[in-house]
Symmetry: C2
Subunit: 684 residues, 2 copies
Amino acid sequence: MRTGITSASAVLFLMMAVPMPSFATESSVTAGLMPMPASITRNVGGFLISTSFNVGITGSSSPRLERGVARLLSRLEDKTGVQLPKEIRHDLNSTLIVNVRSEGPVIEALNNDESYSLTSTATSVRIEAPTTDGALHALETLLQLLEPDAHGYVIPAVVISDAPRFPWRGLMIDCSRHFEPMEVLKRNIDAMAAVKLNVFHWHLTDDQGFRIESKRYPKLTQVGSDGLFYTQEQARELVQYARDRGIRVVPEFEMPGHSTAWLVAYPELSSGSAPVAIRREFGVSSFVLDPTREETYRFLEGFLAEMATVFPDQYVHIGGDEAPAPDWKTNPRILAFKKDHGLSDNDALQAYFNQRVMTILLKLHRRMVGWDEIFNPGLPKDVVVQSWRGEESLAKGATQGYQGILSAPYYLDGMKPASTHYLADPVPRETTLTPEQQKKILGGEVCMWGEHLDQRTIDSRIWPRTAAVAERFWSKQEVRDPDDMYRRLASVSLELEQLGVRHLSSEDAGLRELAGREDIEMLRTFATAFEPVSFGERVQQQHTSQLTPLTSFVDAVQPDPPARHAIQRTTTQFLATGGQQTRDSVEAGEALLRFFDSVGASVPEVEKLMETSPRLATLRTRAEQLAELTLIGKQAIEFRKTGSVPSAAWTEQGLATIAAARKPGEMVQFNFLAPLTELVTAAR
Amino acid sequence: MRTGITSASAVLFLMMAVPMPSFATESSVTAGLMPMPASITRNVGGFLISTSFNVGITGSSSPRLERGVARLLSRLEDKTGVQLPKEIRHDLNSTLIVNVRSEGPVIEALNNDESYSLTSTATSVRIEAPTTDGALHALETLLQLLEPDAHGYVIPAVVISDAPRFPWRGLMIDCSRHFEPMEVLKRNIDAMAAVKLNVFHWHLTDDQGFRIESKRYPKLTQVGSDGLFYTQEQARELVQYARDRGIRVVPEFEMPGHSTAWLVAYPELSSGSAPVAIRREFGVSSFVLDPTREETYRFLEGFLAEMATVFPDQYVHIGGDEAPAPDWKTNPRILAFKKDHGLSDNDALQAYFNQRVMTILLKLHRRMVGWDEIFNPGLPKDVVVQSWRGEESLAKGATQGYQGILSAPYYLDGMKPASTHYLADPVPRETTLTPEQQKKILGGEVCMWGEHLDQRTIDSRIWPRTAAVAERFWSKQEVRDPDDMYRRLASVSLELEQLGVRHLSSEDAGLRELAGREDIEMLRTFATAFEPVSFGERVQQQHTSQLTPLTSFVDAVQPDPPARHAIQRTTTQFLATGGQQTRDSVEAGEALLRFFDSVGASVPEVEKLMETSPRLATLRTRAEQLAELTLIGKQAIEFRKTGSVPSAAWTEQGLATIAAARKPGEMVQFNFLAPLTELVTAAR
């Protein structure tokens, strides 16, 4: 029987609880805030939530605002346990007054005023906003302010004045590679609203499935979807759901490439070769729509007109990326067309196609969005380019007068830490763009591609990391301290789970399934040390397709688990004094020892579990490496603590073990190799 | 920093893992089986699941069976991680052959043949069933048989022949007191299918809300539901979903009592007084439909005819319970009616009402089900009485020729252990009913009333306990060993969570919300010692209504947590030798010490948490009691181990502390007071 083991999660909590001196000021009031408001002043005292709490809407009211207030009340009840009156009043004697100047536009619009102010005292809370959207943001801030004190739950006395930095703050979810049920999308939209994102970019079609019903072209889903698609009624419901939360829905219909699902249903639209089935494999397909035939445009006109009745947003995303189109270089008819129209290459032909589609969209009073590839000097200026190629490409567009949104640094399947995404700025401090050009950068979008996830794991890939990016899009440029971000992210992460997303519980569920038993404490501790490899690395390690079961260890573990940053930070703290022992460095050393101890101790337990769990048994090498790595960590700390110097052989051996652990295996990687390397190097 | 603490969950797992000598034989092959098949023979070896696994349907096929096979394949993939071919073949060369004689009736029927046989060898698996329903049951058994071995996942070689003991094996869910979204019902239907239940009894109307859309009487939901109801389209979808899994849907429309929601919408149907709003309070209401006016029957005829188009099942439940109806004793018109028709009292008037409703149902080719109160000597024999009053009432009906189903011992809101429900038998061994009368007992239904739960907590109230009752309804009377049931329940519980119900993850979510932090290991250990009090006790301790927030500690903790039985069993094992030390008793003593140690050690940690969590702070007294109780437990074991005798004062004090801990507090109770009392008494 093991003794002396403290679970890793407890250790990590303690590490994270050590306050960083730089945030001592006002840190309590901002603990739950993300994104950080433009301005916040803390006053003394606060407003205690009690059964006499009530809400009055003054100024412009609307069913949408009332539903927002009803959600606020329900969440406040859940968080405080206090039963609250549900009637919404319309007078100034209420404890919470929401004063909205106007409902704002009938559908969400890009240029909507989303600002608000929130003033709380010991006796009342007052929200002012020019539009309902601003008020909805204020209600989310109110919930994030809630904090416990000796008497109950309190809204601290503050004066907040807030407005977003960028008007386009999006999350894209790919529902083609793997279909996501409505409830998954709804809970993700709830979470988006909580962190003030305002664009849900719905990637509805791709080679692996056509996910939106067309009554006009029913084969698109009959043949192109495995029966997994959204009816128009469901799509309208989701648009309404998002609208209720101040979120626009921008649908994406990929063309002319990524179009296997169109073409398996309507092969007559193909450029020559047509697929016989939707694509199960990932990667770029060579099937493309035929841009040279009028039938194609008549089809698209019919389809887009139908979609315009489902999606009211001003913007429609046409994809436009990755269309290698070998047929365009070999099909004699297409070659002739290119020649006739003076289209020198495939890019020119795609530009022609985009122009034609744009004309269709303009007739439908829609504006076009597309990925980098649509960018073409001949393109009219009211197109929006979504940059997956990077900041440079985005800036280039802006200098030429094109509006753009940045996505390249926000690809979640890169499995990068939240801090990496967080520090990438659509308009970085060092930008060379003029203020006028900067205005062309509308904001950014987080992209969640769906190859390696399903409804069970998607939440942990999106959250909480996306909350950090949401802050990048909303808050001032100078709000960019990763330590402070992680401090607040821990709190927001919990709030998001309570709101319905399952990034925390899905890891437990996955580990339980792997372990085949309810008690997974040791496996959870073991898992603390790992994170999934990036999309690119996974593809190299394992052949996956749409049909691959996604219930491996890599699917259970979270990207950027709280452990990762905590260990890095604690290591920095431990090494900061250059060998001198301070209270901070001693505490940090103890915390690191406990971490290595508990994670190391989990190894034999998990190895025992492997005997009855064949799917865990594949992790044997990883387990052995983990045992070695934690031992090295403990030894390194002991050297440092005792001031003794390890042998060169020890250092060499330690670094070699770390190097070996970096090698690919089981699609997971250790998340503490960088600080461990620092520890080993520092001991020398 | 604490040391030497092992989490309670790990301890409990170890305790449960100690094999009980009585099940050593064949215990591995039955580990995941629930309900236990009628006959099972284990042979040597088994069938390894690999990528070459494929399924052939021979005999009668149907889209329903094919969907069932598709679900099997998907779940097998999830559990094994092996990607399987999805094409269903129709030849005898498949590795799994499903041979069904006929699809069975077009809708689920009571007398459907649900039997099946399953034979597995090292090279193939063969399922035979007279109907699709039998085959669907066999597929669930197949999944429960799956076990890991050194090479992967294996179906052990067995010969199973199986059929249910009772034809009516139900679960009732009350969706009126709290509305349950469709996905909650769907995942519960998935879980029902996994344990071979076959009736979903849908309690759709009650004082607190009318939950099914009527196009003919739209005010029923417009006025009577807070907007929370199922559309007819959704109801049809659920019927289809259940049918796909071999489950009938019996809708319940409560009348003439429990009818506030009818009457707030259509007050003209009332017996005199009519409500002004749906009822928020619980308990019995005095509003009833007027049984003396023809308008009432015309209304019901219209309503039930409409519902017959939504619910194809042969049975319709009309409630009929708890209709005190003061108006029937005071309204002059009703008094006159009673006199004119020779109806001596309210019971007679209700019997008249039931007769009239029955006539309506017969015209619609439906049979009537009602609670105990509908039972009346004048009632035609083809009514089915659902007994919430008990076995005696049920048996009395049977002797008079009425069909019945038992529910009294299966009320989940009593928060009783699974074993208590498990041992209650619709036709107990000692029955005095003749074999002919016994046939009148169709089976039983588990009842989940909805006063004190919502969509976040319902799963943990229903599961895994209902799986034990499902075995009672399916398996032979003599399968009734609680220890063996709990051994298998642990495995089934996990399987149910993987299938989608959230009885495990919802406790974590609730505790996280209470703690306000992600790491809840200590709070989870603390919670291990508690369970919710019964519905009746909760009502005495707290005034609750439909509007009460359900996010207290009592809502997070599970009824009958695995700890409860494990501690009881380990205590029995520890004390079994009468003081003599055997290997078993020593091991049991160590396990108990670890439990008391870890739970006791959680107390100061949780008390620290209370400082920042006002909603946990209300548990202070409970925490202090827990610290005392675990100390007493440890001392009692030490006395026993060392053979020393405690002072009379110690025993008296210990028993007094236990008695104090039994007193009501925070709507939870300690789940180990019985074994603790045994330990204290034994030490004496």
